[in-house]
């Protein structure tokens, strides 16, 4: 199909003349997006307003499900857990990723390409494999923890015990995503014009001063994006605890994270309406926190 288009120079002609064509290119994406994003969200909101009762079947209950969630200790416990995870794991992970990116960008490493590609590799490892691997290694009967115990004649604390499991999960997630975040930072660092460094160095600025005054402000956008993705990822924590659960049912409950709770409610408890409610609340919490972070970041910039 060819469309004859007269040569158009002004912006206004382009808008009216080719608007439909632009929309045509975008339409297939939007159609599927509507089906797998917008429709389910709408359906979720609808579900959250109903309850399946023994007597009377499915009944409209208004915001009762939301009231129930607000009073639900299991929900709050899960939310608190992912909140703690967010406050500790995300800064550690992003901090290491940033340091590695800066080290690579400084050009002072021997074998820079080897470092970059190696640190990125875990990104290609599925969460399932990463979790199974670390799960085996955490083992105190066999696994690396057991090896250390044997070799040094000590008894290390069990990484899979209830009070250490969150840190152990944090370690798995950190391992999986340091490389990915490093690459985002590194890509942003690479496009900073080098003349800036030259100028700063002529002015007598040292390496750390260049990092603080030029590099970090220049990659602010990348830092924000990585942080927002990590906030979202933390609130959605599911794969790692869900895969570890059969191994250590005492350490990971069915409501360990809000996502795990939603899953258990919907697929084991047949409470789809309440599951939809919890999921919507989590979506709102995620958006509010991500948005608040973005606002704070922007204000600093101004």
């Amino acid at each position: 199909m060819t469309v004859a288009v007269p040569p158009a120079r002004s912006r206004t002609t382009r808008r009216s003349g080719r608007g439909w064509i632009g929309l045509g290119f975008t339409a297939p994406f939007l159609a599927v997006f509507g089906l797998v994003f917008l429709a389910p969200i709408g359906y979720s909101v609808y579900l959250s307003l109903f309850q399946d009762r023994l007597i009377g079947g499915t009944t409209f209950v208004g915001i009762d499900n939301y009231r129930q969630a607000v009073d639900d200790p299991q929900f709050w416990e899960g939310l608190g857990r992912v909140g703690l995870f967010l406050l500790v794991q995300v800064p550690v992970m992003l901090g290491i990723a940033l340091l590695v990116a800066l080290a690579l960008d400084s050009g002072r490493l021997y074998g820079r390409d080897f470092f970059r590609i190696t640190v990125f590799l875990p990104y290609a490892v599925p969460a399932v494999v990463a979790t199974l691997m670390w799960g085996f290694m955490y083992g105190t009967r066999f696994g690396l923890v057991a090896d250390l115990d044997h070799t040094f004649g000590i008894t290390l604390p069990d990484p899979l015990s209830p009070h250490l499991i969150l840190a152990s999960i944090g370690n798995i997630v950190t391992w999986e995503f340091i490389g990915y975040n490093m690459l985002i930072f590194y890509s942003a660092l690479r496009v900073i014009p080098h003349s800036l460094y030259e100028a700063a160095s002529i002015d007598g600025a040292g390496q750390w001063r260049i990092v603080a005054a030029i590099k970090l402000p220049a990659i602010r956008g990348a830092l924000m994006i990585a942080t927002i993705f990590s906030i979202i990822g933390s609130f959605q924590l599911f794969n790692e605890p869900s895969i570890l659960r059969p191994l250590v049912p005492d350490s990971v409950s069915t409501s360990y994270t809000p996502n795990l709770y939603t899953y258990s409610l919907a697929f084991n408890g047949q409470q789809e309406d309440y599951a939809a409610t919890v999921a919507i609340i989590m979506g709102l919490v995620t958006m509010i926190v991500a948005y608040a972070f973005q606002l704070r970041g922007m204000r600093k910039e101004a």
Partner: protein
Amino acid sequence: MTTATPAPTQTDNHHRPARTARLRTPPARPRRAHSVDRPRRSATLTVLSSLVVLYTLVPLAWLVVSSTKTQADLLGSPGLWFSGHFALWDNISQTLSYDHHVFLRWLLNTLLYVVLGAGGATLLSVLAGYGLAKFDFRGKKAVFAVVIGAVAVPTTALAVPTFLMFSTMGLTNTPWAVIIPSLVSPFGLYLMWVFASEAVPTELLEAARVDGSGEVRTFFRIALPLLAPGIVTVLLFTVVATWNNYFLPLIMIKDPNWYPLTLGLNAWNDQAATAGGQPVFNLVITGSLLTIVPLVAAFLLLQRYWQSGLAAGSVKE
């Protein structure tokens, strides 16, 4: 496969030819033998970064070493060193043949999901990214806001209602239930959008139009070759996302015959925990290794493409 097309916008302006720096110091600036562009290599920094590399590699090394062991040796020998009996080939053939070759079935399922899901997601992202970057139309800003906002929606918030919707449409327990939701990649769209606005000069499109080229022809003949590095980048990331997908098939697929590798491996691992189940940890470990090898290979072989694609994508953050 297209031949190497370097990203036109790639700002690779600081190669650091350190070796030449040491050989011939610019005579104009004798005091700064190691300039900003040609810094001195630091052993301390290399050692510190090596710690991160070590952290990255230990689990992978453990996986490789463990895949050479029999079930009995897994329990009886140190994790990071080989046992006397090298059982890798035996493990691989057992993994492939266990339970009527079900691993091969899972591999084919995964390939199906990846080819249609990631391929489709890339196609849709490229078309939409180009449309949004190179044309003005009403509602464009709204599209951006909605798509970026959608990233924040928890996967479960979508999964539960999508499952119920697909269930009434009779799609659950079929490959479509995994493929259709994989077709949308907000990250892919964002990357293609940024990439297309940088890599495809509007003047070039205008010139083609003046010459009487139709929009579709212009897209295929002019825009597509320029978009190649971006396309490879999006393709790699969507391939990883679908190859590694766990949550979506976990919900949608109950029939083990339609499992992807990730669900299958997890099922084998759980087998040890169920009553009367036979532990097959050697198969879980060898299967895990076989699962990650293709992706690691793809990332290593296609480095130059996706790295230039990412670099250009980060220009306009």
